[in-house]
């Protein structure tokens, strides 16, 4: 029987586009409309066929897999739980409950993408707004260290660059778009002004902008028109500072060009401070370009339940925060975990090799709808349903707005939440 599902949600990235049209025939997705090139594969390549869980590579019953995972978790002295960001908040809550019960360390993919942004928010505060406000009000949009054309393709058409809004009735014509990066990218063509920063010099450029917006003088390197800071002509920074102060509603979107480069949280803090200070003159906000579909939800739920957004240990019986101590890459590199539970993530593919290899050395339990490089090395694998495709749940958009995920396919697999509930019961 064929069916057309309107307003489905793509959970691939933090945009959580909720206007997707999915055509379903006989329990299979046959066509997807409005989805971007990056999200299309999520729908087109999803195989909803029920699969059995495995223990050490051999198919077993769900009861046998639960029993084995429970045994592994009960015997662990120092378990690490990681991932969460491609699952729904209902499962994230259960995972944190399980970590609390076991005295485990728990970390999310935030720690390898916008963890430094979380640290900056804690240091400076978060001058934020919703993407709806951006669409309707923003007349100055700055992308710093991000490449939305490659990583969040519909961001520019739904929210930030071309859409027509209440106070931006002419869409693109009503906005000035600035791109700051260490290299030209596919996003450069979107911009009215492109500033190319010398790699590793973002902090200096941001400090200069703070100084200029405060009306203070700056002396760069070089003389006259050659005068520059961090590879950017000083005159261009003066022009940008003036645009930032005189716009009606400005927003900065920042990416991993800031979080993964030298300075990390200090650089992000400088941007957040600049944005906070700009509110002396106009309305200005900053929103991190979140990667995984529900990584913003993982931050929210971790903070609700433990008080901290990532890198938390329950080993003392209460939550202790420790980026660098309880973050997954550090824990694995120091070989401090004797067991791992991975929820909807693939750290073997995305961690530095030395940390990734450690997951193959300890008992590892994985809950994931799809096989990946981590399921290849896992001792117990639960092939669960995919939220937004064959399971209902809730996810948080990059601006902190919760979006309900309705399934487009009939559910044939257990959800992460159901499996975690059972693991809590046997652990």
């Amino acid at each position: 029987m064929s069916e057309v599902v309107e307003n489905a949600v793509c959970t691939f990235c933090g945009c959580l586009c909720d206007d997707i049209v999915v055509e379903v025939d006989d329990g299979r997705i046959t066509n997807v409309k409005r989805v971007c090139a990056s999200g299309r594969g999520l729908f087109n390549h999803y195989d909803p066929t029920p699969r059995q869980p495995t223990v050490n590579g051999k198919e077993v019953t769900w009861e046998e897999a639960i029993a084995e995972a429970g045994r592994v978790l009960r015997e662990a002295d120092s378990p690490l739980m990681y991932g969460l960001s491609s699952s729904a908040i209902e499962a994230q809550r259960k995972n944190i409950q399980l970590a609390d019960r076991l005295g485990a360390m728990i970390d999310t993919t935030s720690s390898v993408c916008h963890g430094p942004t979380g640290l900056a928010m804690q240091a400076v505060g978060e001058p934020t707004c919703t993407l709806g406000e951006v669409r309707n009000r923003a007349d100055l949009v700055v992308f710093w260290g991000c490449n939305p054309a490659e990583s969040h393709p519909r961001h520019v058409t739904r929210y930030s660059v071309t859409p027509k809004g209440m106070l931006t009735p002419n869409g693109r014509k009503d906005r000035t778009v600035v791109l700051v990066d260490v290299r030209p990218t596919a996003s450069t063509r979107l911009a009215d002004l492109f500033l190319q920063v010398r790699p590793g010099a973002d902090f200096e450029v941001l400090t200069t902008l703070r100084t200029l917006t405060q009306g203070l003088g700056v002396r760069g390197q070089g003389v006259g028109a050659e005068e520059e800071v961090g590879g950017v002509p000083l005159v261009a920074l003066e022009e940008l500072a003036e645009k930032m102060k005189s716009c009606r509603f400005g927003v900065a979107f920042m990416g991993m060009g800031l979080t993964q480069t030298r300075g990390r949280d200090l650089t992000v803090s400088e941007l957040f401070t600049l944005v906070a200070e700009l509110n002396q003159y106009t309305r200005f906000s900053v929103i991190p370009m979140r990667g995984h579909g529900n990584v913003a939800g993982a931050d929210q739920v971790m903070t609700w339940q433990s008080g901290y957004p990532f890198a938390v240990s329950f080993a003392r019986g209460y939550p202790v925060y420790g980026p660098g101590e309880f973050s997954a890459v550090d824990v694995l590199a120091r070989q401090e975990a004797d067991t791992a539970l991975i929820l909807a993530s693939d750290p073997v593919a995305h961690f530095p090799k030395a940390a990734a290899e450690q997951l193959g050395q300890i008992p590892t339990i994985v809950l994931d709808p799809m096989p990946n490089m981590t399921t290849e090395v896992a001792s117990v694998v639960f092939p669960t349903a995919c939220y937004g495709l064959d399971a209902a749940g809730t996810a948080y958009r990059m601006d902190g707005v919760p979006i309900r995920l309705r399934p487009v396919l009939s559910s044939t697999r257990p959800t992460d939440e159901e499996i975690l509930d059972r693991l809590i019961a046997v652990s």
Binding site: H45, P153, D265, F310, G324, A328, D330, H350, K353
Partner: protein, 110 residues
Amino acid sequence: MSRRFRLITGRTRKQADGLHRGKETEAYRQATALVEMNADDMTRLGVEDGAMVQVRTSTGAVDVPARAGELPLGLVFMPLGPTANALVGTETEATGIPPFKGLEVEVEPA
């Protein structure tokens, strides 16, 4: 002749498409196992577009095809994935995040 460069890693559409198809597929391997360089840097190293180069850090080394990309002199780019991650160390400077961008690398013909 300097063979030292700065490496940044990041997402690409082909990498995203490849991971949906499966990380065991040739599409994913081709999307992630490459290095993009400034064309003048490639000429200086005597490397033609598509030729194999070795990229090395103090952590590891990989052999990948070099592609001319729109990058400033001295900067090279690799897509996110296990190939690039063989070059990335685990020092997180007390933040949890490894140095995925700004790594010092050496590049030379393989």
